[in-house]
């Protein structure tokens, strides 16, 4: 009798431990997601080369494919690919923008918001810069429209003002651009950055860049 009681107790505790373990595993999976996201987000600062950015993008893409309901991993995959696109060593900007847009499409299938429109803008801008004289009517227009759509959804997104400021800053004055036109946009961007309270894991890049650009406009 004592033996039976002990074996049942053993089985019961084993079952409980297993359940506890499983329960821990379930919570660990969303902890796993948060941990993976935080780990990879911290990699952005140390990533430099095109290959490193592509690898980082693919890592976020895998997280997104595994999670299935989160737009943020795909957003960051697109962002990493976009940062690869700013590297002058990357020759085929059109092919790179196709990759950005493929990741972005997966994010937008879950949620379209002002952050995804910011990526749309950067992807189109990179393509336009390939041949501005001939592409300002096509890619340039797409970049502009993406910002407008983003602002319609969230007129307080500081990154959108930063991007519009960049576009204005890089347009020659005789074509309606220049530092004077860019300055109020960077000012608004910095103001919004200072007031921003981003949620955990949500994008909050760009404050340093906006402050730098504002200094250049003085």
């Amino acid at each position: 009798m004592k033996k039976t009681f002990v074996s049942s107790a053993l089985v019961f505790s084993a079952l409980v431990s297993c359940t506890l373990l499983m329960g821990l595993s379930t919570r660990a999976q969303s902890d796993k997601y948060v941990a993976a996201m935080q780990k990879n987000l911290s990699l952005f600062d140390s990533t430099k080369t095109i290959d490193q950015y592509q690898s980082l993008a693919a890592t976020f893409d895998r997280i997104g494919d595994a999670e299935k309901t989160q737009w943020l991993p795909f957003y960051y995959a697109a962002l990493a690919q976009t940062l690869a696109g700013w590297n002058p060593d990357l020759k085929d900007k059109d092919a790179n923008s196709r990759k950005i847009n493929a990741y972005l499409a997966k994010a937008e299938a879950i949620e379209k918001n002002s952050e995804t429109y910011a990526i749309e803008n950067m992807s189109a801008t990179q393509q336009m810069l390939v041949d501005p004289q001939n592409r300002w009517m096509t890619n340039g227009k797409d970049a502009s429209e993406a910002l407008q759509k983003g602002l319609a959804l969230d007129p307080n997104n500081p990154r959108l003002y930063y991007l519009q400021g960049m576009s204005m800053f890089n347009t020659p004055a005789q074509f309606g651009g220049g530092k004077d036109k860019a300055k109020p946009l960077f000012e608004k961007s910095v103001t919004l950055f200072k007031a921003a309270q981003p949620k955990s894991l949500y994008p909050n890049w760009g404050q340093k860049e906006a402050e730098n650009m504002l200094a250049q406009c003085q």
Binding site: L10, A58, Q133
Partner: protein
Amino acid sequence: MRPLFVTSALILLSASLSAQTHVSGTVRDNKGHPLHGASVAIKNSYDGATTDSTGAFRFVTTEKGTDTLLVSNIGYNPIEQPVTLNGTPVVLHLALKEQLSELKAVTITAGSFSAGDSKRGAVLSSLDVATTAGSNADITAALKTLPGAQQVGEQEGLFVRGGAGYEAKQYIDGTLVNNPYYSSVPDIAQRGRFSPFLFKGTVFSTGGYSALYGQALSSVVLLESIDLPEKSEVDATISPLVVGLGTQQLAKDKQSSYGFSYNYVNALAYFKAVPQDVNYFEMPQYHNADANFRIRTKSGGMIKYYTTFSYNMLGLRRQDWDSLNMNDAFGLTNHNWYNNLSWRDYLKGGWKFDLGASYSTNLDNIGQNVQNLANQNQVFPDSAFWMNYKNFGVNQRQNLTQLRAVFDKKLGTLSAIRFGSEYWYSYNNQQYHTVEYNIDTLYKFHDNFNSLFAESDIYLTNALAAKLGVRYEHSTVINKSDIAPRASLAYRTGPEAQVSLAYGIFYQKPESSQLFFTQNVGFTKATHYIINYQKMTKDRIFRVEAYYKKYDDLIKTVPVNYYFSTFNNSGSGYAKGLEFFWRDKKSIKNFDYWISYSYLDTKRNYLNYTTQLMPNYAATHTASIVMKRFFTKLRSGVNLTYSFATGRPYYNFILDSLNKYNLAESGKTKDYNSFNFSAEYVPSFANPKARTFVVLFASVSNVLGYNAVYGYNFSYSGLYKQPITPPARRFYFIGCFLSWGVDRSQDAINNNL
């Protein structure tokens, strides 16, 4: 016991935690080339890696058991590979197949040049067509700088690869344009009726074209009209030769638009400033009015309607070529009304349709009189009967009604099948009268023309594409049918390089000027064989093409008496040649140029030719170089075109007493040289916020003043020949184009600042 349980549990736990599997290998394409940046991932897990530049990958996974590896790379079909993860290292060598993609697939280019901004493989943009020096914004003139088109200056039309002008036809949105040029004036080439700004895409085919089109032995020009405008705008044109005003209004929901415009041409001021060799007693005046509407349908299709009404008149006197004391006074008035309605749309299941309807009517009232130096009409004795035949009046009408339907079904990513039918009802009449011989005859005929066609696009891989088609045609006026096969192929031979082949049989009804006199004739026929090699990067295009055209059943003139002939199909001929095209936008900064060269060897025995002869609109060597330079800081552009052609043959055929033609004289004209210049100033360039869009445009053709001779007109006796030369040595144009639009795109940003 408890410690044992805990220990075993701990052991089990740590064992599961430390059971990792190493996964490594390579990813290549199905030709064995390594793929860089391909993604290898364990399904539903975060574990995976991307391939390096040698195609190699490696990663460690804690997943266990049987699982699936997802391998993908943009532009390739993804694959799933089952794997067993139990701690033993897994090594995989994987291959991905390239996806069929419109961006990567070859396009069939044999015998075809496309122009337009959205067309893949376009050699010209729509702005190129408008700004090429020497073209003065006439589409045909811009196409003459491409290989295949001959430099014929005294007659309107495209003379392609040894073919006459009527062997090239123009289509707008699928339906034929019956009168693409203003009415002919002897020895003075007329402009096309349509502005290049109406079109977003042009395909200029120099042969071997699709089964969807027919009734043109040499070439088709396929024009695609623009869709909705970007914004509402008002346009104006101001110049000494033409003034115009128009508007396009875009609906608030941006799903429809309408517009209309009017322009008036009067050459009085221009001819006072630039004297012409011919004497105008009635200054050329043109009134053109047009209207359009466009509607985007819910399924993303477009309904477009365009109508244009034109009235023009002129009268000129030029020296008679039989008598130095006489002038031929020629007068013309023309009424033309053209309508085009098209509807293209999408149906379920990958189906597309393209419907078109068109109605045009054209009325010419032409008169000619031989006059003495006091401008009095002359009558001649019967012994100089040929002079009396130069006093005539002609009223002619051409009506054409067309219906067209094409259905297209996608089969897979890029392959497609399409079929359709056309119905053309044409009515032509000509009232010809001469006073002296009491001739007043009305010639007329009507024709019910029907065609059925089918074609398929077959894409086997991104490197191999084929197009096969067949066309059936029937015409009631000649009561004949034909079946015409078409086939073409493109094969990628290397990065950005391809070889393309085209074959086809083409039939064409005889001209109405022949059908008035006999309808006992059949289709004329041409068989094309074309091969081309092309290498095209973003900034450079190199193209070489060789062709052979065999003409059969060409129309031969059978004279009955001096002014009346009948016709049969006993003519024949051939044309063969080699053409080069080179375009470079990169080598010199901000400088864009292209070079065309055509070598043409052609002979035909047709109309009144006595044997196989090179036709008088063909030149053995033709070359053009077109240069454009845009100065971004000055917001101006300069364009130069130089065209050269070796001399054209000329012939004098004389009807003998047995009513047979004899070749009395033949020769070659001198070479043709023309250097044209144009410049534009665009103050609002690259400023998307500009309210007013302005272009100042100036051009001079034949800057160096070369005296071109296109051919000769012979006197009745054959003793005297008069060179055919342009009415003025140079043509000058200066004009201003303004466009006011309302652009709301920046309002959202500005309101939030």
